[in-house]
Subunit: 480 residues, 2 copies
């Protein structure tokens, strides 16, 4: 009993209202998603966190392949001479590059960057691979980790090393590249909403906030439960910004040598941080079934009674056979109540209890993690009703998050309103488009421009900051 | 016509008999499996090669999970102070480490190794994660790339950066760790033989050839078509060699604090080189169906005739629906004959031709890549007969490779016979176990000890080298 109390104490989670940031840290570490390492700013993804990443990967990779992309693997080191070819790009990344200067006992002639992103090495190879219009488009993606020497880091949200995918594509025309950038943004939006149950704002970044080297950057921006923005994914239209310095040219149908148009796009393990801060509650994680390592956990109650463990095993096998990711927790050294708490902490969407009385009645007693609703499901056809319930949980989590997003987004007409709104969420503004206003808003409210939505009608005609004429809608929010 | 001739010339493959090494390089580059990069010794895996690696990963990962392993992701950089903790280990790896010395514009206090392998960081984390016997075993794996600053490199076989998996496990007892090391060796053997269609010698490495830091190293060794050995996978029993310096201790059931026992095991993109050199022929690759990006290619013949393209599409859809990885090659700018050559070069196991006469007869005309055998398959039930054929090709490739392995392995009784045998294959020897004999054999024949087989009976009682009493069987061969 003493031991159990001690463990319960360790597992205390700071309430979100009290300190959202500490709540996040508590959840991330207590759920064993990751751990800190002796390597500055670098985390280890433990099995539970890593499995979420694998499920994200599977789901996205399927989407990438369906939209005609192929995976490749590029070197993790990039010679400095390549990195500096595109001026804006190197300016953006150089301050946070980790440099390899020695191989074995020898000093290198040229230092090598541990890739912070791979545009420059992709472009170098594209210049070799692209000859004629028949080679186009080339639509590639790679899954890897990249390194950015960040000053302050937080698990999943900002780590020196992080895992991601980076798509890189080359096209014959400007239009095609533009469509690709928008297509992948839409893939991200659909993925965030349908798989992560996380509603997003989809739109175009400002000139100030765009990617170093891009012509246009698009993003999907999520809203965390503290109302702050988290940039969940970006897609860049490069035009010929990289193909010119890297000389990626192709012989077109008309016999002319032309520069290619390019895109790149990526999401990272940051999404795991986004899941936590979108869905988590006072008792820990709440995982959307689509990316939950275990979608259901089966817990025998009064397991010493005859037939209970056998029935629990039978149910587990049946759910597994139906393609449900299920865990049987048959540990005999902790109580059912202990297990309930632990799997709630870990965010398993559905708990399935089975005890002597349930068996007698031919049911399993269930509890939904999203609503805490408790109900019995008939053992006949259990797999089907569990699947239905999981769908309902997936939907339920999205709706809860979407309700928050709607309630914490507001049109604002002046700086005072803006400043007030970004304390709790997103401010929708009219913006004149000037960098000066963007900078001033940041200085005065610490909110940054998130993105310019597609297909929304102006709701006013004056800039929220300077009061001059404005026809651009811009979302502002404080951001992670 | 001029252009096509030029391309055919480019695609000339050096005959294996003439220069096996050049044949290998020709095949690797012409099939677009990889390409050289401006980063010293580092390759890019192009879509075709990368897809083979993905299929290898899927197949192995399934086996790892079935045997109770979980994936994690560890930092790619390792502080020097960790790397040096196990003396033999650092001695083995230090000469080939790439060092990060600067982060952004600052020099680091301690330099960081780009991981050459991850024992030291896994051990550091295990020391944190393992407390009690209830935490054991921990059976982890990670998929990543590692970096070894090799002096001379060859695509897939020896590259500065390579992709691999590394399993790392911690156990409560010596026996359990030992069993784990042997279990994973057996997983590798079964995988090499059943998935890669590549027969292997499974056994224990000599003291000289074992992994830096291991107590015992086991390996699976394949035989390439030139008779040379390729170490395809290794599994290490560490005993407490790492857990002692890293202080990985657990509180056992008896209340005693004890050191853990560990293993590690890995295979890499080297396996792709092994596939090429095991199965390739004068016309290029021959891929085992289990890891072929396309198991069948459908080629319309006389595609301008009515109904041909439609039927080709219909067949492709039917094969795809049956779970076969199939490619429809409906390009209109190259001839069917051109396509035949290209897909033979790329090693697609089965070619399915469909033309007006085939449609009339209700068949598809097929050609097996392994035997070049040509035959018709009824369009009714085509998917089933294609599956059967693919199984037969998988089996056929294994049998061809196994016949070579058997014919090029011979018992030898003295140095003259040994020297002669290692020119063409593996020499099975009796060996006294002395390092001096192992060294002398290497000096005189350039063959190295491969491994000591399990469960083979001594065929003689004298050492092949010194003539003293010997009861250990050792395979010797020249090696990649």
């Amino acid at each position: 009993m003493a031991k159990r109390k001690a463990q319960e104490f360790v597992k205390h989670i700071t309430p979100r209202e009290e300190d959202f940031s500490q709540w996040y840290t508590d959840v991330v570490t207590q759920t064993e998603l990751m751990d800190y390492t002796p390597v500055r700013g670098c985390m280890a993804m433990r099995p539970y966190g890593n499995r979420i990443w694998e499920l994200i990967q599977e789901s996205l990779d399927k989407r990438f392949k369906e939209t005609g992309h192929e995976n490749v693997s590029m070197p993790m080191l990039i010679p400095e001479s390549l990195l500096v070819k595109e001026a804006e790009h190197v300016e953006g990344f150089a301050p946070e590059v980790a440099w390899v200067t020695h191989g074995g006992n020898e000093e290198l002639h040229e230092r090598l960057a541990v890739r912070p992103t791979s545009e420059t090495i992709f472009c170098t190879m594209f210049a070799k691979w692209v000859q004629s219009w028949r080679d186009l488009p080339m639509k590639y993606n790679q899954w890897c980790s990249v390194m950015r020497w960040e000053k302050s880091t937080r698990p999943f949200l900002r780590t020196a090393e992080f895992w991601w995918q980076e798509g890189h594509t080359v096209h014959a025309t400007e239009e095609e590249a533009h469509e690709e950038a928008l297509l992948m943004l839409e893939v991200y939006r659909e993925f965030c909403e349908n798989v992560l149950a996380m509603p997003v704002f989809s739109g175009q970044k400002s000139e100030k906030e765009k990617f170093a080297g891009a012509r246009t950057t698009y993003s999907v921006e999520a809203m965390m439960q503290d109302g702050k923005a988290l940039q969940a994914g970006t897609s860049h239209d490069f035009g010929t910004n990289f193909s010119e310095p890297f000389e990626i040219q192709f012989l077109d149908k008309d016999g002319q040598l032309k520069y290619c148009y390019e895109t790149s796009w990526g999401v990272s393990t940051r999404l795991i941080g986004a899941i936590i801060m979108t869905h988590g509650d006072e008792r820990g994680l709440r995982l959307p079934p689509a990316v939950a390592p275990f979608q259901a956990v089966v817990i025998p109650v009064a397991a010493h009674k005859p037939g209970v463990n056998e029935k629990a095993q039978e149910i587990t096998d049946a759910l597994k056979a139906a393609g449900i990711r299920v865990k049987l927790d048959d540990r005999d050294n902790v109580s059912p109540g202990w297990k309930f708490n632990e799997w709630e902490l870990k965010g398993v969407p559905l708990r399935v209890e089975i005890g002597p009385r349930d068996i007698e009645k031919g049911v399993a007693f269930c509890c939904r993690r999203d609503t805490n609703e408790k109900f019995s499901l008939d053992l006949n056809g259990l797999a089907d009703s569990v699947k239905e319930t999981l769908n309902s949980i997936q939907q339920g989590l999205f709706e809860q998050a979407n309700a928050l997003k709607i309630s914490r987004t507001k049109d604002v007409y002046n700086m005072e309103e803006l400043n007030e709104q970004v304390q709790i969420g997103y401010a929708r503004t009219m913006w004149c488009g000037d960098r000066a206003c963007e900078d001033l808003i940041k200085d005065e409210t610490s909110a940054t421009s998130r993105n310019i939505p597609f297909d929304e009608e102006p709701f006013h005609d004056r800039c929220v900051c300077c009061g001059k004429e404005a026809d651009t809608i811009m979302y502002f929010a404080k951001a992670y």
